[in-house]
Symmetry: C2
Subunit: 136 residues, 2 copies
DNA sequence: TCTCTCTTTAGACTTATTCTAAATGCAGAC
DNA sequence: GTCTGCATTTAGAATAAGTCTAAAGAGAGA
């Protein structure tokens, strides 16, 4: 995804593409690592000609979530992670390394209609915890 | 569950049953509400003859989790909740009220064996988000 | 150019959780 | 029954994640 596409994506989702938002979106759209806000800050602060504020990182992440460009992922207490993969998918957390892997939605049976008529499910997320075998 | 049973449970799991641990475990074993640490503190502090420290609440919750008496449940960023229901089950979060409901494990198809041979799943949790219909 | 509005910034603030160091409470040894 | 040692509890300090604030900056349109 190149700059023009990212700019078009942000504009289409109603987020004005400022330089700060562009580098943050660009970083998230090109990583598989489900970074925290601090990791985003560390990764992009040297891609801008001037200082990048922690507040701007949080503001931007919250705006991108609200606009549906990225999603929050919470796999462990106290750490919010961000994911530019907004397709229906789930997560596997390696208990040893803590690394998070995407599990495509179609690798898991669909669950929306199993809960009876009391719970109307809008969305759901599955987090698997276990051991990564064949080290990838 | 009465006091003697809770005492026996803690002892069997290797947690010495102090008065503080007893009231915290007793509260958790008798609620369906998935409380936060602060909610636990507020609920039990007047059940003890003397002051209860925030540190003790956290120490106890962490000990009970480590011993497998309770589990952590994270359904939203920044809030750790505790659940004395350690049977295999999942959660439904009402988007309007934030209330959390238990979804028995057998209401959802088993997923452990769907992920191929790269991911060895130890456990997993499903969080459903949606709207509670027929107000219960 | 002027002005309005949105954005960014640094740092203060809040909230959740952990750490620290001192006091307390028992259980076993004597 | 007293002593002693270790685990537990306590209040408050410290840390960490995230939000708020007030002032500065930047761009779009009149
Ligand atoms: Mn993902
Ligand atoms: Mn539960
Ligand atoms: Zn690209
Ligand atoms: Zn009972």
């Amino acid at each position: 995804m190149e700059a023009a596409e990212i700019e078009e994506l942000l504009t289409r989702k109603g987020v004005k593409p400022t330089p700060q938002r562009m580098v943050i979106a660009d970083f998230l759209l090109h990583t598989f690592s489900h970074p925290t806000a601090d990791e985003v800050l560390a990764a992009v602060e040297n891609r801008l000609p001037c200082a990048l504020s922690r507040a701007t990182v949080y503001n931007t992440l919250n705006s991108l979530v609200a606009a549906g460009v990225i999603q929050e992922v919470v796999t462990e207490a106290g750490k919010t992670r961000y994911d530019a993969n907004i397709s229906e998918h789930h997560h596997f957390v390696d208990r040893k390394s803590g690394r998070i892997f995407d599990i495509p939605g179609d690798m898991v049976p669909k669950l929306k209609d199993n809960l009876g008529d009391k719970f109307q499910v809008h969305n759901y997320q599955i987090t698997f915890y276990g051991d990564l075998l064949e080290d990838a």
